[in-house]
C-alpha cells in the first residue's frame, strides 16, 4: 500500500505537470486545483507589481507571471513578500526589447512592497541630534529605518514608475531623458513615500546604511564635491523618515 508521502509526491507532480502520465487518473477535477494554485501565485505577483502590469499590459503580465511562478514556487505560506526575483526574471526575458526600463520599474515595485511590510520602529527626529557636540555627531552611526529602501535605477525608471504606479492616472505623454535616477522609499504614518534623490544624497544615505559614521561619510563626499551642504542633506534624509530613532 502506498503511503501518504507517496501520494503527495505523485499528486504534486501531476499538479505541476499536467502532461504527467498519471495526471489523467485524477480526472478533470485536477484542473480545479491547478487553476487555484496558479491563480493564487499570479494574484500575489499582480498585487506586488502593479506598475509592471500597467506598463506591460495584462496579457504580457499574465504570460510572464505564469512562466515565473512555474520556476519559483513559494517556500512559505505567507505570500505577502512572494516574487522577490521577478525583476531579475524580467531583466533576463527576451520578449522585452524596446522596454529596457521595465526590470528597474519592477525593482522599485519590489522595494515598495518590502517597505510596506517592514517592521515598525520610531523614526529619528532631528531634535535627537540637535544638542550633540560635533565630535559625538561625527563618530555616530545612524541605522536606517526597517522600512527604508534606497534605489538607483537606469533609463529614468523612477520617473516612469512615479507616473504609472496605480492608482495614479498616467499622463498622455511622458518625456523621458533616459538617465540614471536615485530614490528613497520611506514609510511615514503607515504610508510608503517615494522621494527623488540627488546622486550625492543617495551615496550619503547608502554609506550611512552600511554603518559608516557621519564623519567618515561626510569626508568621503566632500572629497568628491567640496561644495556639498551636508547638514542640509542630513536634514532632508531625517525629514523623509530614513533613519531609525537613536536609542539613548
Amino acid at each position: 500500500m502506498s503511503t501518504l508521502t507517496d501520494f503527495q509526491d505523485r499528486f504534486l507532480s501531476a499538479l505541476l505537470d499536467p502532461v504527467a502520465q498519471h495526471a489523467a487518473s485524477y480526472g478533470s477535477g485536477l484542473s480545479v486545483y491547478q487553476n487555484t494554485v496558479m491563480k493564487g501565485m499570479v494574484d500575489v505577483l499582480r498585487a506586488n507589481y502593479p506598475t509592471v502590469e500597467r506598463l506591460a499590459g495584462e496579457e504580457w503580465f499574465q504570460a510572464a507571471a505564469l512562466s515565473y511562478v512555474r520556476n519559483h514556487l513559494p517556500q512559505q505560506a505567507p505570500l505577502a513578500l512572494y516574487g522577490a526575483e521577478f525583476s531579475g526574471f524580467i531583466r533576463a526575458s527576451s520578449t522585452l526589447d524596446g522596454v529596457p526600463y521595465l526590470a528597474d520599474v519592477a525593482y522599485i515595485d519590489r522595494c515598495w512592497t518590502e517597505a510596506y511590510f517592514a517592521a515598525d520602529a520610531p523614526d529619528l527626529q532631528a531634535a535627537q541630534l540637535a544638542d550633540l557636540p560635533a565630535e559625538t555627531l561625527s563618530a555616530m552611526q545612524l541605522a536606517l529605518h526597517p522600512a527604508t529602501r534606497i534605489c538607483s535605477v537606469e533609463h529614468s525608471a523612477f520617473t516612469i514608475w512615479l507616473n504609472n504606479r496605480p492608482p495614479v492616472t498616467p499622463p498622455d505623454e511622458l518625456e523621458i531623458a533616459d538617465v540614471p535616477e536615485y530614490l528613497l522609499l520611506t514609510r511615514v504614518q503607515n504610508e510608503v513615500l517615494a522621494t527623488r534623490l540627488e546622486q550625492a544624497d543617495h551615496q550619503f544615505i547608502e554609506m550611512l546604511g552600511r554603518g559608516t559614521t557621519l564623519g567618515e561619510a561626510a569626508l568621503a563626499l566632500l572629497q568628491g564635491d567640496a561644495m556639498l551642504d551636508l547638514a542640509a542633506m542630513l536634514a532632508r534624509a531625517i525629514g523623509a523618515g530614513a533613519f531609525k530613532a537613536v536609542v539613548t
Partner: protein, 286 residues
C-alpha cells in the same frame, strides 16, 4: 464584558471594508481573518488589524499550516501563528483538513489526500503538536473536494476520529459539504447528521461557482458569489440539530458592497436568534 457571549454571525474581514467594518455596531458581529495575510513584520496591515480587534471579536483562520502533509507542521509557521494569536487574542482559531506545503514548497491551495489509517494517525499527531504549541484547541474545517481518491474512512467519520483523538473541534463549512457532495457524489444531509454536534465550534457559509469547462459538472468553492439557497437550507437543518453556533459569511473574491454582505449576515443572525442556545466548548472568551 465577555465579548463572545453574544457572538452570532460574522463576516470575512477584507482591507477594502476597513472603515465600514470597524464602525459597524451590529449586535453579535465578529470578523474572521486569514492568519497568513497578517504574518508580516509590521506596517499598515497590522495597524488595521489592531484597530479592528479593539472593537470586535476576531476569529483567526489559518490556510497554510498543512496539517494533512506527511510531515510535522513547520516550526517557523507555528511561531508566526502564535505571535499573531498573542496580538489578536481571537475567540476561536481554525485550520483545514488539507495540505499545502510539501518538501520545502508551498502551494496556495487546500489539497486532498486519501483518508487512510496512516493519514489519520499523522494528522491527529499534527493537530496535537499544533494545540500543544499554541496552548489551545483548534477547529478543523472540512475541505471542498474535486477528485475521487481511495478512502478508508468517510469524511465525517474521519473528522469524528480526529475530535476523539485530539480534543480538537470542528469548523463545518456547509458550502464545502454541498460542493463536495456534488463533485464526489456523496450525500450532504447524511454527512451533516454524522458530525458530532458538541464538537462544532464554528460554521462557514460561502458561495460557489459552476465550472463551465469540465465534462462533469463540477462546483468550485470560489467564495466569489452569495450563499446558494440549497446551502441556506442545509444550514437551517444543521442549526435545528445543534443549536446556536458562530457562523461566518465567507467572501474572498468578487467582493460586493459591505452592506450586501451584511444583508446575508443578517439572514444567518436571524436563524441563530431563533435557535436554542448551546454552550460551545471550543469558543473562548478573551
Amino acid at each position: 464584558m465577555n465579548p463572545t457571549a453574544d457572538v452570532t454571525a460574522g463576516v470575512s474581514f477584507k482591507v477594502e471594508y476597513f472603515d465600514e467594518a470597524r464602525s459597524c455596531a451590529a449586535a453579535g458581529l465578529w470578523y474572521e481573518i486569514h492568519a497568513e495575510n497578517y504574518m508580516v513584520a509590521g506596517g499598515p496591515r497590522l495597524a488595521m488589524l489592531d484597530a479592528m480587534r479593539a472593537g470586535h471579536p476576531i476569529s483567526v483562520h489559518g490556510v497554510g499550516l498543512s496539517l494533512a502533509a506527511d510531515a510535522e507542521p513547520d516550526r517557523t509557521h507555528l511561531e508566526k501563528l502564535r505571535e499573531l494569536l498573542n496580538r489578536v487574542q481571537p475567540f476561536v482559531v481554525s485550520e483545514h483538513l488539507a495540505w499545502s506545503g510539501w518538501r520545502g514548497n508551498y502551494l496556495p491551495d487546500l489539497l486532498p489526500f486519501p483518508r487512510t489509517v496512516a493519514a489519520l494517525r499523522r494528522i491527529a499527531r499534527n493537530i496535537e503538536i499544533t494545540q500543544d504549541f499554541l496552548q489551545r484547541s483548534i477547529l478543523i474545517e472540512n475541505p471542498s473536494l474535486y477528485v475521487q481518491l481511495d478512502h478508508d474512512y468517510a469524511e465525517a467519520e474521519f473528522l469524528s476520529e480526529l475530535v476523539q483523538r485530539t480534543g480538537c473541534g470542528l469548523l463545518v463549512d456547509v458550502n464545502n459539504v454541498y460542493v463536495t457532495a456534488n463533485n464526489i457524489g456523496s450525500d450532504a444531509v447524511t454527512y451533516l447528521k454524522a458530525l458530532p454536534a458538541g464538537a462544532i465550534g464554528e460554521i462557514h457559509l460561502a458561495g460557489h461557482t459552476p465550472d463551465q469547462r469540465a465534462q462533469i459538472r463540477l462546483l468550485i468553492d470560489t467564495h466569489a458569489e452569495p450563499v446558494a439557497e440549497a446551502v441556506w437550507g442545509l444550514y437551517q437543518q444543521l442549526i435545528n440539530r445543534i443549536g446556536r453556533c458562530p457562523t461566518l459569511i465567507e467572501r474572498d473574491d468578487n467582493l460586493p458592497a459591505f452592506t450586501e454582505l451584511m444583508t446575508e449576515r443578517a439572514r444567518a443572525a436571524t436563524i441563530l436568534h431563533a435557535a436554542s442556545h448551546t454552550e460551545r466548548r471550543h469558543v473562548h472568551a478573551h
